[in-house]
């Protein structure tokens, strides 16, 4: 039999049999990235809203930096968090390097700029169109931003899902700060990298399938949310 097809068949069997090792890796991946996504959404939304509504010196510079951080390489984030959490680093006393907590911190740092930059754009565009009407009702600038964020909740949810997709599929940061320790910090991406280097392609492929499946489900949900929003706006006559 073709080695590739053979690997595919073994991978499918591992997924179908709900292999305990596989399930643990998948569970850890989803929980680390899920928590990082929640943290990033809270921080990013707040930062994005504040930048959207407040005018302060250097604001344009902050926006340029924020947009640049959208393309932040995960290994750079991994390196920074590693330096911060390593024994000699400023946060070394926490003793959390090579734990899931360190991985959550790294992934949160990686995806917070994504949420912040896109939330700022979303809120600022809506503020330009509707901010004055909200202020005429007595809303402060921050209240305007919060009302608009609530009104754009589908767009914000889409951002959160995008952030989750980015977090769950990155490998550089979690590898550096997690250490890929079996049963402790091994997640899907680091396991795929390890198994591939060992030549154990069925396990790598099985994890790859699960990861692809997660990303696929995310994209389907994002697409559905977008479609729902567009349909709503079309019914309301906001879109042609």
């Amino acid at each position: 039999m073709n080695p590739f097809l053979d690997s595919l068949a073994t991978a499918a069997r591992l997924v179908a049999d709900r292999d305990p090792q596989l399930l643990h890796i998948v569970g850890l991946s989803l929980s680390v990235s899920g928590i990082a996504c929640l943290v990033a959404t809270a921080l990013g939304l707040l930062a994005g809203a504040m930048i959207a509504v407040w005018r302060f010196p250097g604001r344009s510079g902050v926006i340029v930096v924020l947009n640049t951080l959208l393309a932040l390489p995960s290994v750079v984030v991994g390196l920074i968090v590693y330096l911060l959490l390593s024994r000699a680093g400023p946060l070394g006393a926490w003793g959390i390097l090579f734990t899931p907590a360190a991985m959550v911190i790294a992934q949160s740092l990686l995806v917070t700029p994504i949420v912040a930059a896109l939330a700022r754009q979303t809120i600022e565009d809506a503020m330009r169109d509707h901010g004055e009407q909200l202020r005429s009702l007595g809303a402060t600038r921050l209240e305007c931003a919060l009302i608009i964020a609530w009104d754009e909740r589908l767009a914000i949810l889409t951002l959160a899902l995008m952030a989750f997709g980015r977090a769950v599929s990155e490998v550089g940061a979690v590898m550096m700060v997690g250490g890929n320790i079996a049963g402790v910090t091994r997640v899907m991406t680091t396991a795929i990298a390890l198994e591939t280097s060992k030549g154990d392609l069925p396990v790598a492929l099985a994890l790859g399938f699960v990861l692809l499946g997660v990303v696929l489900v995310l994209n389907v949900v994002i697409g559905a949310l977008r479609g729902w929003r567009i349909r709503g706006d079309r019914e309301a006559g906001v879109l042609p």
């Binding site: 509707h130 009407q133 909200l134 005429s136 009702l137 706006d233 309301a236 906001v238």
Partner: protein
């Protein structure tokens, strides 16, 4: 002599100037608004009507001059295209009350009362954005009216509506004015100005060029610029 000078103004602008970058949107405008007046602001697009309403509300900073108020009158504003949140009509009407920290139970009661007032009680549970243009404008009027305003500022509230919706909104504005609410309305519809206003303010390029009783605005004499506007010779830039 300007009409408002003889009355005790509820709201007043003195030498008000508003700039948007290099553009002077409002140029040293004096306007005194007495309680219960119905004032129409007329002028071509870009003449400063909307900016004047926003300056009266305090929504734009003045580059010069001052804004004075007798006490702290409650001011509400309705825009040409009202912003409806992706929430129910009732929640949209409650929004202003929520921002004014009105307790929940009172908020609900006042919102429903306002919706009944504008004939939209049956639509209270629908999503605000799916209402027709005329219904959205009535919901916006309900949102403003629920705040129990002493001054109602209306920025071309019927400009994008069909004739029947226009008539409905105009009737409501007339009823609000009859209740004693001070109304300032910007409009391109001179028939509407005649029907609703007791005083007309004419603006051109951000300057206030005429401030006269409605009858005099249509029968003259007026400054030459306002006469040209009435003859349909619009002062485009």
């Amino acid at each position: 002599m300007r009409l408002g000078d003889r009355m005790t103004p509820l709201l007043e602008l003195r030498g008000a100037t508003v700039r948007f970058g290099p553009k002077v949107a409002l140029n040293a405008v004096d306007l005194a608004v007495a309680r219960g007046e119905r004032i129409a602001l007329v002028g071509a697009n870009g003449s400063g009507k909307s900016t004047l309403l926003r300056a009266l509300h305090g929504l734009v900073p003045l580059a010069g001059g001052e804004r004075r108020m007798a006490g702290a009158p409650r001011i509400a504003m309705v825009f040409q295209r009202p912003f409806m949140l992706r929430m129910t009509v009732r929640a949209n009407v409650e929004l202003g009350l929520m921002l004014q920290r009105v307790p929940r139970a009172e908020r609900r009661e006042r919102a429903m009362h306002a919706l009944e007032r504008v004939g939209l009680a049956s639509e209270a549970g629908r999503i605000g954005r799916v209402l027709s243009g005329g219904q959205q404008q009535r919901a916006a009027l309900a949102r403003a009216w629920a705040l129990r305003p002493e001054v109602l500022l209306l920025d071309e509230p019927t400009a994008s509506l069909d004739p029947s919706a226009k008539r409905e909104v105009e009737t409501l504005v007339g009823e609000f004015a009859a209740q004693g609410i001070t109304v300032l309305i910007s409009s391109h519809n001179l028939g509407q100005v005649k029907r609703l206003a007791s005083r007309v303010v004419y603006l051109e390029h951000g300057r206030l060029l005429a401030d006269v009783p409605t009858a005099r605005f249509f029968d003259g004499p007026l400054p030459e610029e306002a006469m040209r506007f009435l003859r349909g010779e619009l002062p485009w830039d």
